[in-house]
Symmetry: C2
Subunit: 177 residues, 2 copies
Amino acid sequence: MTTTDAAPEAGARLRAVGLKVTAPRLAVLQAVAGAGHLDADAVHARITGELPGTSLQSVYNVLGALTDAGLLRRIEPAGSPALYESRIGDNHHHVVCTRCRAVADVECVVGEPPCLVPGESTGAASGFAIHTAEVTFWGLCADCRVALEASALEASAPEASAAEASALETPAPVASA
Amino acid sequence: MTTTDAAPEAGARLRAVGLKVTAPRLAVLQAVAGAGHLDADAVHARITGELPGTSLQSVYNVLGALTDAGLLRRIEPAGSPALYESRIGDNHHHVVCTRCRAVADVECVVGEPPCLVPGESTGAASGFAIHTAEVTFWGLCADCRVALEASALEASAPEASAAEASALETPAPVASA
DNA sequence: CAGTTGTTTTGAGTGATTCAAAACAACTGC
DNA sequence: GCAGTTGTTTTGAATCACTCAAAACAACTG
């Protein structure tokens, strides 16, 4: 499966939104489609294999253009760089791991934005005309849960537990990674 | 209403969470309490009046300490710097204006996190142990709605409308401010 | 009031992203 | 098939928001 294989289909989608078909765009499109949620750096790393000369700046340009065109969706969880995904059109949501920042998709029961509206009665929205509801769940991914439980077994190991306790907290920029 | 007026109460809250009572902390606490949602720079600007020597770095330190201690809450809407608010304890949400980035509170019907859980049946969560759901609504604030409607009346003014159309889109870093 | 420990300051550094201008390559029409 | 036009990519620099580290300093303890 080389770039050329997927190209025709991707090329058509680019043209459909009025964008020129270029090698970097095809490569980015393919890279993002082949992975869940990638930041600009990760995309750059992925396409460097088949398209060695591509600059990081171009990746930013391309990601921006594709996002504006609606071919990619950008999410920006607190404490992570912007991530791009190719699942668009459905209005799904995300879970982010508070410890390792891993991201997974969460199905939206509604599908169409806004899938949620602020309660009218609560005096909410204060004059806003809302068109989207973005839901981000925070928790521990399976791996981190295991890692944390494992180290919890060695009961009172004071240095380790301090850092790990913070992983149980809500959205807060991560100290390490 | 000077700093000294609010100090006793704020000082007590600082001590309660094991933090030393210092002038910058009291000033930050007061500044954030007196405004909706402030970023570090805005807090710094506000306290510079009464506490001229305070460095921006200290403001970051203080905001971090107060957030960790649970006296402030930090939100990070896509495309905005981190914002701090003093409404804590209740699990409320936010609306962000896609045009001017203004933020307003939205009441949460549940109040306790997580106020929302991914549908079990949808195959969602993929092994995550979720403890919080963060909801961000996106829309146009009253002012921007008026501004946009006003300029829409002068039907075909091509230069203005392009930029404004993007304000109707979902979470995307804002071009100007 | 002295000591200890946490805070603030100063100064520098970093990651993620954007801006701008010049070199370049896709599509258009000939 | 080729020249032109216009959109893309590259190069290089700059910016924003924030973090790191070490030294100066000030709150609380006894």
